[in-house]
């Protein structure tokens, strides 16, 4: 099926045929569609599945999804370079998009689409589009800690008093922007000292889902997560089944960072029209309203006038630190520091 949808160099035809024969045997039948988009997605699969289904229904364009962790996909796109199959990249955090923009892999987003979202949530150069946002918070186990004893700043968690009482997911794509933000605020040395403290104090998990679940069952007292992981766990357990709560860091604290989930069109896409349509669809009023209502994402829709899930603190009431997308970097500095500190 790959050979029908894409232009392939002639030299690899036989290999493609072999692959295609196997693929035809194995893949679900999506052959009949006129146009196909390939989406590299670091967003949650539940959310993407729903979006893709709605888009397909609306436009008739079939979307093939390749899911992975945001930074993994960004680096994959870098490695694949011009021959990538990807048309659209949709991910949870801005640094991954910045990385691709730096390497000149992104096509400009249609101005009309960018205009649907406040400019501060988009790439300053118009290379990527902000779609959803979330807040960094501290989840804590109510049986293990009093709300009053919780720190006002995420930086406090590196103090000795928190030894063994912090859960983090250093290899989760959501943790890297927070590290980048600390670098932006405290400088590299300050950030390294903070990370070393965390390395001493923290229990490491693979992802934020693991952190929030561990906090809720009391395996660790607190955990640095994005807010929606906790909401999702509550959705699963029911409000009465929760043993944990959310603590917001002080206004303006670096820990109150808001992560933006964004999308971009690849410069090498062979279906740019459809790809731009997909981006416009993501920030269209009905899609954003549905995302706001959804009990699956619990992220803030960025289109003005669209209400977020009532379970969340309204977006307007959040006071994240003032750090520009350019300053937040592309994760590379964050990864280097995490390695230095022994967390990666």
């Amino acid at each position: 099926m790959t050979s029908r949808n894409r232009q392939r160099p002639a030299c690899g035809r036989r290999a493609v045929m072999l692959g295609a024969t196997l693929a035809a045997l194995l893949l679900p039948a999506t052959l009949s569609a006129a146009e196909t988009l390939t989406l590299y997605s670091g967003q949650h699969e539940q959310t993407v599945d729903q979006l893709v289904e709605a888009f397909q229904k609306q436009t008739g364009i079939v979307v093939k999804v390749h899911s992975g962790e945001g930074p993994e996909l960004a680096n994959q796109l870098l490695t694949e370079g011009t021959a990538s199959a990807a048309d659209v990249y949709f991910t949870e955090n801005s640094p991954e998009l910045q990385l691709l923009a730096e390497h000149g892999l992104l096509a400009p987003v249609d101005a009309a689409t960018l205009a649907q979202v406040p400019a501060r949530f988009n790439s300053p150069q118009g290379q990527w589009l902000g779609v959803l946002a979330r807040q960094n918070v501290l989840a804590y186990n109510e049986a293990k800690l009093e709300a009053a004893s919780l720190p006002t700043s995420v930086l406090d968690l590196a103090a000795l008093a928190w030894k063994g009482r912090v859960g983090i997911a250093p290899s989760d794509g959501d943790f890297l922007p927070l590290v980048s933000a600390v670098i932006a605020v405290k400088g590299e040395d300050g950030a390294l000292a903070w990370l070393r403290g965390l390395q001493h104090n923290a229990q490491n998990f693979d992802d934020d889902e693991g952190v929030v679940a561990a906090v809720d069952r009391g395996a660790v007292a607190t955990g640095i997560v994005n807010n929606y992981y906790w909401e999702r766990l509550r959705e699963q357990n029911g409000a009465h089944g929760m043993h944990s709560a959310i603590h917001e860091f002080a206004p303006g604290d670096v820990g109150a960072l808001v992560n933006v989930s964004g999308a971009a069109v690849l410069k090498t896409s062979r279906h740019k029209g459809a790809a731009q349509r997909f981006l416009a669809f993501l920030v269209s009023a009905p899609t954003q309203a549905a995302l706001g209502r959804s009990n699956i994402t619990f992220e803030y829709p960025l289109r003005p006038g669209v209400a977020a899930n009532p379970a969340l603190t309204p977006l307007a009431r959040l006071s994240p630190p003032e750090i520009g997308w350019d300053k937040l970097g592309d994760d590379s500095q964050a990864v280097a520091l995490l390695r230095k500190a022994g967390l990666l």
């Binding site: 160099p9 893949l27 994959q76 490695t79 694949e80 229990q203 999702r232």
Partner: protein, 512 residues
């Protein structure tokens, strides 16, 4: 006088071993290509020390505990008047058919406290102790009881007799089994990741998630490969020595079974506990979660009938394709090994067995690098994943294929040849009917291994393809246990069913 092997056959026999070398050389090459300063930064960071510590501790501990459990179980089943011995013999081997990451999922979802080292040790031991049990039980069965009886008659106590007479004879199979456990613990990924126990494999995956197939992943992978190959070399040396330890094939009778007397109750309780922990918990927990409702919010993959069907279809499809390709690659080499054993053939065979020491995550990483840089058309194709399976499971197929051809009498195909049949005809009309069942068994083994394989599938699945294993993984790694259950149930059923058919049809020996 042996006729020299057909040149075409020899050439065909080279394909498999060459494929096995590809990931090893790629990873080593990638690791060497990293600038020395970067490499030392990556290699001598604090985490690597911790990983080394974690990995070595776990490998050592699980090897010892699997040896104890496996040997004890084998002794009870083979040497005592245990009620229902035959049933026990099957039950004790069954855990091998349950993928460790499902066992891990069961334990993690059963108790919150099972994390880290304790949980990892429990899961690895319960998943892999049959690797000790099977060879040790086989040796116990084949041992000549005369030696033990003589020792007893000369006044040895039963314990002393076990220590001084039985154990030395068990040593080759026991050590061989222990090395297999060590190797499997070293390359295990899914189970540890769920238990949050960090080893080289979980960290390679973490590197992959933060940087795709970058230098960090390649370097850790190279370290892991070197460790695995060292273990493998240890096993090869050991296997070489077993020849001297083997007891001659004089007439012997089966050993007299020990009356258990008052120890019957504790032995039965122990075996029941073992079966409850290793089969009861995984199967029970999957069944439990099948009855629980899941929420779409935290279940990446909610089980729909269509999703289940397409994942099953994908898993079975990959299993069949992998079984076909792997056995096809193993046939020329297996045939030569059975009919023309010589230096060249032995070298090819040994090269193929190197695959046992290459973790799935390394094969996947290497193939991604090669495909993305050189073999672009194969990149993200189902074909590449099937090739990866063939590399991983070639040793498994080779053992079965060689045994199958060894059973077919040489005279048969020579007669057919002299009567004027061409080679393809000889193969189709003479060899295949005779060696067929053995080839089928090899294919079935590859099929089971493919269906339950996780790591390679995770990294190499074509865009849009989800298999049972990856669906279980996506759900369990985000702790959506209920959503994972139907996929896990289907996968374990497929695995148990194929293993059962395999054992029924070809005898218990094949499963080893």
């Amino acid at each position: 006088m042996r006729p020299p092997p057909h040149a075409g056959l020899l050439l065909a026999a080279c394909i498999g071993p060459l494929l096995v070398l590809v990931p090893i050389l790629t990873i080593l090459f990638e690791a060497v290509r990293i600038a020395p300063a970067d490499a030392s930064d990556l290699l001598f960071r604090p985490l690597v020390g911790q990983l080394l510590d974690n990995t070595v501790t776990l490998v050592a501990a699980s090897t010892v505990s699997a040896a104890l459990v496996g040997t004890a179980a084998a002794w009870c089943v083979e040497r005592t008047r245990l009620p229902g011995r035959r049933a026990w013999a099957v039950l004790v081997a069954v855990p091998l058919a349950i993928p460790p990451f499902v066992t891990s999922y069961a334990w993690v979802s059963l108790s919150n406290d099972l994390q880290d080292f304790g949980g990892a040790l429990l899961v690895v031991t319960s998943a892999y102790y049959p690797l000790v049990y099977l060879p040790v039980a086989a040796t116990l069965r084949g041992m000549d009881p005369a030696l033990e009886e003589t020792a007893r008659a000369l006044g040895c106590s039963p314990a002393r007799c076990f220590w001084r007479v039985v154990l030395p004879q068990l040593r080759p199979s026991l050590l061989g089994g222990m090395l297999l456990v060590a190797l499997n613990a070293l390359v295990e990924f899914g189970a540890f990741s769920l238990l949050r126990y960090r080893t080289f494999t979980t960290e390679i995956y973490a590197e992959y998630r933060t940087g795709f197939a970058g230098p960090g992943a390649a370097l850790l992978a190279a370290v892991l490969v070197v460790g695995c190959l060292a273990l493998l070399a240890g096993e090869a040396i050991l296997r070489g020595r077993t020849r001297y330890a083997r007891v001659g094939r004089f007439t012997r009778r089966p050993a007299t079974l020990l009356r258990l007397g008052w120890t019957l109750a504790p032995v039965l309780a122990g075996l029941s506990l073992l079966v409850a922990l290793t089969i009861g918990v995984p199967v029970g927990m999957v069944l439990y979660w099948l009855t629980q409702p899941g929420s779409a919010a935290s279940s990446p993959v909610t089980a729909t009938l269509a999703g289940l069907l397409s994942a099953t279809f994908a898993s079975v499809g990959f299993g069949l394709a992998a079984a076909g390709l792997t056995v096809a690659l193993a046939i020329p080499l297996g045939f030569l090994a059975a009919r023309h054993p010589g230096r060249a053939v032995m070298a090819l065979e040994r090269t193929s067995f190197l695959a046992q020491g290459v973790p799935g995550i390394v094969v996947a990483l290497a193939l991604v690098s090669i495909a993305v840089q050189v073999l672009r058309p194969l990149y993200q194709s189902a074909g590449l994943l099937v090739v990866a399976y063939a590399i991983l499971f070639l040793p498994l197929a080779l053992v079965g294929v060689r045994a199958a051809f060894a059973q077919a009498q040489r005279g048969l195909d020579e007669a057919a040849r002299s009567l004027g049949l061409a080679w393809p005809e000889v193969f189709r009309r003479v060899l295949l009917p005779v060696a067929g069942p053995g080839l089928g068994a090899a294919a079935a083994l590859v099929f089971v291994s493919t269906v339950t394989e996780l790591t390679t599938t995770l990294l190499l699945s074509p865009i849009g393809t989800r298999t049972l294993a990856t669906e279980v993984w996506v759900d369990t790694s985000t702790l959506a246990f209920a959503a994972a259950a139907p996929y896990a149930a289907l996968m374990v059923t497929l695995s148990l069913l194929s293993t059962w058919l395999l054992v029924r049809r070809f005898g218990a020996g094949v499963a080893a």
